[in-house]
Symmetry: C2
Subunit: 409 residues, 2 copies
Amino acid sequence: MSLIVQKYGGSSVADPDKMKAVARRVVETARQGHRVVVVVSAMGKTTDSLVALAAQIAPSPEPREMDMLLATGEQVSIALLAMAIQSLGHPARSFTGAQVGIFTDTAHTKARIRKIESDRIAQALDGGHIAVVAGFQGITADEEITTLGRGGSDLTGVALAAALKADVCEIYTDVDGVYTADPNIVPDARKLPRISYDEMLEMASLGARVLQSRSVEFAKKYGVPLHVRSTFKPDPGTLVTMEDRGMEQAVVTGITHDRGQAKVSILRVPDRPGIAAQVFGAVAEQNVVVDMIVQNISRDGYSDISFTLARGDRAKAVAVLEEVARRIGAQGVTHDDRVAKVSIVGVGMRSHSGVAARMFSILAKEGVNIQMISTSEIAVSCVIEDKYTELAVRTLHEAFELGKDRSTA
Amino acid sequence: MSLIVQKYGGSSVADPDKMKAVARRVVETARQGHRVVVVVSAMGKTTDSLVALAAQIAPSPEPREMDMLLATGEQVSIALLAMAIQSLGHPARSFTGAQVGIFTDTAHTKARIRKIESDRIAQALDGGHIAVVAGFQGITADEEITTLGRGGSDLTGVALAAALKADVCEIYTDVDGVYTADPNIVPDARKLPRISYDEMLEMASLGARVLQSRSVEFAKKYGVPLHVRSTFKPDPGTLVTMEDRGMEQAVVTGITHDRGQAKVSILRVPDRPGIAAQVFGAVAEQNVVVDMIVQNISRDGYSDISFTLARGDRAKAVAVLEEVARRIGAQGVTHDDRVAKVSIVGVGMRSHSGVAARMFSILAKEGVNIQMISTSEIAVSCVIEDKYTELAVRTLHEAFELGKDRSTA
């Protein structure tokens, strides 16, 4: 008898009918002889509605009260899901983060999990219940309600699975697994049966939206196998787990892309110590997260600095940098919203040389100009003009032989 | 510096604008130098919507999960009200029932308060905060979320006022106080500046909807002065408090009526010991609460038994009584939905004789036939044909000189 943690996102429980479908799936798992803990998000767009309601009340609500408000969304879901399970004839109990004992730090709206008490859930499971747990929320040592920020419900699932030493944490979502590339762009994209934590981490941070880096990191740290699968189909999805031999044979596992970026350049920056710190310090003060940074070598005592960031932050960053540029004597600031980042990811890169070069030559052959490059141990990313995104992804997918009729690369 | 508990009902916080108006009122009270604890209900029809949502999921949800669901309504309100207060520049903190430590028994959906811990609120007040507390909800010793049933938020306010030894518990509502009669029926009705707990209890149970008996009983037991007043007007309302000399001068304080009743009669019941127990035992088994009961003296070994009950329960009661009538050999069961109960209430009745007789003769003079009578120490109630309700209430109001140009009776 195994212990399974199942996590269902907001779109999986968006209305009463979907809630009942989830209940059937949960009960089916329990009737197969498994002990089941279900983690659930707020229904559909509930969280957005609550945020909008708060905005009508106060321009910048205190984070403590925001958490008090947002935590209700998941509490509604667990009560309803427990009712739906019970009405199918299976005992169930719902638990808030506070009732479970999901203890976090005091960083309201983006709290980090410190400790999970598993006694109460273990007791419910021992009593033959399905335990239904509110995702996204926790409690501080002082009994203050906290929320875990974006991707918080996934994190609740993974952390509970770790605390309960579950056999697997199943992440149910509206896609049925992790693909070699976005199937909307590459019809030939293949669902990966397995992928390593490290590859999943790279893919998550490089634009694959199925999982957030934070949950994958947690799963990796505690060795929790993640199974990403569809709420609406019975087929197995993608297992995210430790690296194994089979995985290492593929040089490239997947192609990701991110079209939500913008590129900002500061031109002719005087090449003095501390200049980069001034530039990126000013950006960080605006709470803007910078992604790739490229600084060319100096010519005549000047160099250009370019970086990418989320497009929504671009205006804020440019405004502050125009100030900085004047102050440090740079020529000016330019920006480009029509860029995309395309990446190849694969643990096999560790033992194969020349993968980056191969990527560049594939893109060059199609006439795609590369504006910026960044590499990690198991990924290579290129910033290109946005209009070439589909072409680049499709060509790389084919060249690295990731399609359905794949032979070993 | 006094400590004031203010309770606002769902209609007072039905939308963001009303919520902000409540916040202004609360902050104004605090700026007058008072320490303020606010108890708040779920916004508008939130609780009804949640009940409807549960009904879509499961035909008869477990009470534990129902409480988990319903408690979110008040949690939304406290978060938003705290935000609204903070945005006016006054520190505030919201608290769920669990965070306060409002401990109840385990009777989900109708829990009774066992104990209130006031440390955390006292601490917030000492820190200069307005404490915003979720009404209607509590927690068991095992950390299960409970709700207090109908009128639960009033009860939270009164119980907190008792625990904190507050100077007054202000109940804000959409009427501006307790009236000598329903102003919709009696234009001349007068707002009572003061009324005793006992009179308020009688009036509440006899049809005045402004407060529920349960909260008044609690206030009486702990000597908490209640101030019933309007959310939307600044004028003082009605103070519900201990009896004092001034009150005793009036024989009748108010006229109430209840049009939500029905009358059921069982005809020619054999006059044997244990028959009444069989009749009312069968009704009680249907969870039907019986109000007035009249059994006439026996004639030829038979008597008629009549009683009143909430109209919504009538069909259920008649169905079960037709069974009982057959079994015990009674002639049959009749019912009448077109009845109303009209009552006079006043502590002065204790020391004045003939008040009931005067009521009967006033009604008789108008041609109003009295179908049933019941009396308590400080109230007399008559069941009459529904169509005479307005006439009876107006005539009694005038005859007992309760109007605005009142002279001492």
